[in-house]
């Protein structure tokens, strides 16, 4: 309740809409009023949480086991004295997943700087290369090991999907990394990468939201960050208020969705069995 500005603006918008409604609401699709209200509620929930995070508010976010697995993998690579391979997907920075992949890369780079393990990041887009280099450089600086950073740890292979997969496979077979991480947007090459990683006996950790590729990662990798988990992990690591606030806002909406489901089931059951005069399915049908 502390964010006065937020409540003021929300209140004003609600009030104006109320006035408009009372005045006879010209030019409004009345059938879609439920949708309009839903959107308003959801949008303001999101905004509230983003603003809360921006003003320095702290949320609890549950630990994500996959991130812990990353730490173990880095530890094991150090013990074995072998490098770590990090693949940030095959798409450009306009994909949210690539952005998330680069954020997680920053986190991994911090650990490799701490443990003095070598890191190898082949990329398939030149813009991703720039972003990934920046992320690594920053991490090594923060850890106080700029001497360990060299630009070539992030290197461009090729834009083409299968050629890129073949190139990464070559690196895996030659360098035998102890851990392979695949975090970003993947298509069919997911399978080729995970299979080769498996055959060299590396610990494999994957993170992606590409629904069709998740099964291949789950069966071939030791740990997989699934969809939203991946985004939440990156939001958590990036410490950007709009991302963290977004995670929390979406959680609240999710809770509301669950409550709505349960509530609708109860009403539906009553409606069908006892003839209570309210059909919730009509309310939820928006044309």
């Amino acid at each position: 309740m502390k964010d006065k500005q937020f409540w003021l603006v929300t209140g004003i918008i609600a009030f104006i809409f109320l006035l408009y409604w009372i005045m006879g609401h010209p030019y409004l699709y009345e059938d879609r009023i439920v949708m309009l209200i839903t959107m308003f509620l959801m949008g303001s929930t999101l905004m509230y949480n983003v603003r809360y995070a921006q003003m320095g508010g702290e949320f609890y976010l549950r630990p994500i086991p996959g991130l812990k697995a990353v730490e173990e993998a880095v530890g094991r690579s150090t013990e074995m004295g072998r490098p770590i391979l990090y693949v940030p997907g095959i798409q450009d920075m306009d994909q949210v997943e690539t952005v998330a992949g680069v954020i997680v890369l920053g986190h991994v780079a911090k650990m490799t700087a701490r443990y003095e393990t070598s890191l190898n990041v082949p990329v398939s887009r030149s813009i991703v290369m720039k972003a990934a280099r920046e992320a690594c450089r920053e991490s090594y600086m923060i850890e106080g090991r700029p001497d360990m950073f060299n630009e070539d740890m992030v290197h461009y292979l090729t834009d083409d999907q299968f050629a890129y997969a073949a190139g990464v496979n070559g690196i895996m077979v030659r360098e035998k990394p102890a851990a392979c991480m695949y975090m970003g947007k993947f298509y069919a090459e997911s399978l080729i990468l995970a299979e080769t990683g498996n055959s060299i006996g590396a610990i494999q950790i994957a993170g992606t939201a590409s629904q069709a590729q998740i099964p291949f990662f789950v069966t071939a990798c030791d740990y997989t960050l699934i969809g939203e988990e991946f985004f939440a992990a990156s939001a958590y690591l990036s410490k950007k208020p709009e991302l963290i606030g977004g995670v929390r806002g979406q959680d609240m909406i999710k809770a509301a969705v669950i409550v709505t489901i349960i509530f609708s089931i109860i009403i539906m059951t009553l409606y069908d069995n006892t003839g209570i005069g309210f059909d919730v399915s009509k309310l939820l049908t928006i044309r």
């Binding site: 629904q211 928006i286 044309r287």
Partner: protein, 281 residues
């Protein structure tokens, strides 16, 4: 016992090119020497068939073709079977494409079914509107004002001069939608921007990869049914009683699946042997 285990481990580290060869063989052999396994339609396929069967004769059906040659083996047999079913029941067919290559696929299907098999008249029994780029915006355009989006058909003929287009102004003027889809844009966009906002019933034929993304829509009743991949197409061919390329591929499909399942099992057996051994030492 350990000898058997050794053999398993040996097979486990086989060069993968042998596996490639096996897969090639198990696909080619049944294609050349078919067995003709019986085909059993699943419920979701039957629902599509029933809902088209229930349409009164002369219904206006929008058929959207959104796949490219890369998924042709899965989608094309569906398009063909649906067209056959629609023409057999004397429905009017309107064909649009959300994918540029969809035009070629649709043209092939029209040549085969409308022209050769049923001898239907263009502009009276069917219209080929063609492709417009813009993804979901095209769907939205068809829903709001089809005539603004399509001023000419695919042959550059003016829409106003086509008799069948009389009285067709937007999506609500159709009775049914079938989308033969291989990804984005496709079935999901049709559900979101066309079928859900207007309530016009729709069904779809999708590639196997996509099935899981559209199943919740089917279960929730937002779509009447779905044809799932090449087996779905084969089931539809069985239902309309006209065998096509999907049916002939089913033997190869069956054998290949069995072999892959076998691979998974064998692979895991050697995985367990290996794990047990490394535990012992």
């Amino acid at each position: 016992m350990s000898k058997i285990q050794d053999t398993f481990l040996k097979i486990g580290s086989i060069d993968r090119r042998w596996i490639f060869l096996i897969i090639a063989a198990v696909v080619i052999v049944p294609l050349i020497f078919p067995v003709g396994l019986p085909i059993r339609p699943t419920d979701t396929t039957k629902n599509v068939y029933d809902s088209i069967e229930k349409l009164p004769a002369g219904s206006k059906v929008l058929l959207s073709v959104e796949y490219s040659p890369s998924t042709r083996p899965e989608n094309h047999p569906m398009t063909i079977s649906i067209l056959r079913h629609l023409f057999k029941n004397n429905h009017k067919v309107f064909i649009t494409c959300l994918w540029p290559d969809g035009q070629f696929m649709a043209q092939d299907a029209i040549n085969q079914v409308a022209k050769q098999e049923f001898n239907k008249t263009y502009g009276v029994d069917y219209v080929f509107l063609g492709f417009r780029p813009g993804n979901e915006a095209v769907v939205k355009g068809i829903v709001s004002n089809l005539r603004k989006l399509y001023t000419v058909d695919v042959y550059q003929k003016k829409i106003d001069e086509i008799p069948l287009m009389n009285g067709i102004n937007n999506f609500k003027d159709f009775d049914f939608l079938f989308s033969s889809s291989a990804g984005f844009p496709g079935t999901i966009e049709w559900v979101q921007y066309a079928s859900d906002p207007t309530g016009i019933p729709m069904a779809s034929g999708v590639t196997s990869i996509q099935v899981n993304e559209v199943m919740p829509y089917v279960q929730a009743g937002q779509m009447v049914g779905v044809l799932a991949g090449m087996p779905g197409a084969a089931e539809y061919e069985a239902l309309i009683n006209q065998k096509g390329s999907a049916t002939s591929g089913m033997d190869a499909q069956s054998v290949a699946h069995l072999v892959i399942v076998l691979f998974i099992i064998l692979g895991n057996v050697s995985f367990f042997i290996e794990r047990n051994r490394s535990k012992k030492y």
